[in-house]
């Protein structure tokens, strides 16, 4: 069976500086895959290439939905990538601060709905039905993530941990095949991290695949099915958590790097 997401030879140059160098990576259906590496290794750049925010210099991005045809994601605009089934969160939280929590999630439904200007003005039956579905779907996601009590708050007024969860909720609302999480545990306390661990497992159990960038090694090791390690834009190792733990290249790359287990 083909992997759900396959990246082949992905390279990205910024005016002569090679940020990503022939990167290969696979994510299989239902897996949690982690991407780790020291700061500046190019992990977020990789996410940006994957989601269409940057146009990669070379390489192929292939997405094969279960039972569907393989599609190339390279060169697609970000919104179309999302439509194909990749949804992401951001390292430095990019919510819509002056919109309510519920609205933030409703935005996620945008690419799965169709109401046009005329529909919005005349509010025909289909639009009304669609709007109801958007609200219902968003509310159910929020409930799942424990945000039901704050649906009418502005996103900017939420505490930090809740903002992180809201970002995940918003990404989930796009009905993704793969969820891309960029350092979801950053800045969380141990209690919140534990909850996040459970949350990610729950999402996986619903059949989604997850690609995760994370510095919290405890979380990575406990969650991941497969780990890719990057340094200087290159893949230096891959394997199961146990393999990675003992890989000499990884240890070398991380030497001096703060392996915070908190």
């Amino acid at each position: 069976m083909k992997p759900l997401l396959e990246v082949k030879g992905l390279s990205m140059d910024f005016g002569g500086i090679r940020a990503l160098d022939h990167l290969d990576l696979r994510v299989n259906q239902g897996e949690i895959v982690a991407l780790i590496g020291p700061n500046g290794a190019g992990k977020t750049t990789f996410f940006n290439c994957l989601t269409g925010l940057y146009r990669p210099t070379a390489g192929e991005l292939l997405l094969t939905p279960p039972g569907g045809r393989t599609k190339r994601l390279g060169g697609l605009k970000p919104n179309l990538v999302t439509r194909q089934g990749l949804a992401r969160t951001f390292q430095n939280i990019r919510l819509f601060p002056n919109m309510t929590v519920l609205e933030n999630v409703m935005i996620g439904r945008h690419c799965r709905t169709r109401a046009k200007v005329l529909g919005a003005i005349f509010r025909d039956r289909r639009t009304r039905k669609e709007e109801k579905e958007i609200v219902a779907a968003s509310l159910s996601i929020l409930k799942e993530l424990g945000l039901s009590d704050v649906i009418n708050e502005f996103a900017k007024n939420l505490p930090y941990g809740a903002q992180r969860r809201l970002e995940i909720a918003r990404a989930l609302a796009t009905d993704p095949l793969i969820l891309l999480l960029d350092e979801p545990a950053a800045g969380m306390n141990p209690q919140e991290t534990r909850e996040l661990d459970e949350l990610i497992c729950r999402i996986r159990d619903k059949g989604l695949s997850i690609l995760l960038i994370e510095h919290d090694m405890k979380l990575v090791m406990s969650l991941s099915d497969h780990i890719f390690v990057m340094d200087y834009g290159r893949k230096i190792a891959e394997g199961t958590p146990d393999e990675i733990r003992t890989d000499p290249a990884v240890i070398k790359a991380y030497l001096g790097e703060d392996m915070d287990d908190a």
């Binding site: 910024f14 977020t44 940006n48 925010l53 951001f90």
Partner: protein, 300 residues
């Protein structure tokens, strides 16, 4: 051929005028990324201050060289003070606001200053005394280039060289470049960013005031509205050259001045401004970084 040379010089004069204003736009944009809409008004205020001071001095019976020097000084000082105050009142509080807030504030400032001068002085055109005398040795070239054209050309060149030296070699210049590169980083290495931004506004305003004085003397009259049109043209020039780049601003100004001049000479001046605006629109669409500017990638 003569006709070509004549048009060429008239284009150079125009270009120099735009350059003196465009430098201020480009410096401010380079440092805080703001289109300082009120810059044209600072130029206008410089011209008005020059008019007032020179008239007062000439009534008091000062000799012409003294009038010129004192007028230039007064215009530069007061325009700088306005530039400094505008920055402090309308832009500094918005330093961390969304990008459009300071721009809207700048548009407001521009309207405010225009109407302030209209109300404080007059809505009518005022004649501006010819501060630059007709040099005897220029007589031979009278048909091609006038004395004031020459003075404007030389002044622009000198100012541009001085400014480049200042930015390349002085401490302030280095601090300005550092702030333009990365404001947070500059702050961390101990540069007083507020101070640097103020200096930029003061410098840009002083240049605009000198420009205002020279142009007013060249054209012979001013009113409260001269800043708006000149400002937009100079901004076009700055964008054409690559906003944020000082040689770019000068290059862009000369290109705009020359094209306007040749377009008028060989085609028609009916659509002069349409042409300038279309040029602006086209550059922004197809090459927003201008001729000498650097393209930037937005960080995610």
């Amino acid at each position: 051929m003569d006709y070509f040379v004549e048009l060429f010089f008239s284009g150079l004069t125009r270009g120099s005028i735009y350059a003196l204003i465009a430098l201020g736009y480009t410096m401010v944009y380079g440092i805080i990324g703001l289109i300082n809409f009120a810059h044209g008004e600072i130029y206008m205020i410089g011209a008005f201050t020059a008019l007032i001071v020179s008239t007062v001095l000439s009534i008091m019976g000062f000799p012409l060289p003294a009038i010129i020097i004192l007028t230039a000084l007064a215009a530069a000082i007061w325009a700088s003070a306005y530039g400094y105050t505008v920055e402090k009142l309308a832009y500094r509080p918005l330093r961390n606001a969304p990008r459009l807030s300071p721009l809207i504030s700048a548009i407001g400032m521009s309207m405010f200053l225009q109407n302030y001068v209209l109300l404080a002085q007059t809505p009518d055109f005022l004649p501006f005394p010819a501060l630059i005398p007709d040099f005897a040795f220029m007589e031979r070239f009278a048909g091609v280039i006038g004395s004031s054209d020459l003075v404007i050309l030389i002044t622009t060149t000198v100012i541009m060289i001085l400014l480049t030296l200042l930015i390349k070699f002085t401490r302030t210049g280095k601090a300005m470049r550092a702030t333009a590169q990365d404001r947070t980083m500059a702050m961390l290495v101990g540069i007083n960013v507020d101070h640097v931004i103020s200096v930029t506004f003061i410098l840009g305003s002083a240049l605009a005031a000198i420009g205002g004085m020279l142009i007013a003397s060249h054209i012979g009259q001013i009113n409260f509205y001269i800043g708006f049109i000149a400002g937009i043209k100079a901004f076009t020039a700055a964008v054409l050259g690559g906003i944020g780049s000082i040689p770019g601003a000068v290059l862009g100004s000369f290109i705009l001045g020359l094209t306007e001049s040749f377009a008028t000479g060989y085609v028609s001046s009916d659509y002069e401004d349409v042409f300038a605006f279309s040029l602006l629109v086209l550059i922004l669409i197809f090459r927003p970084s201008g001729l000498l500017g650097k393209a930037t990638i937005e960080k995610v």
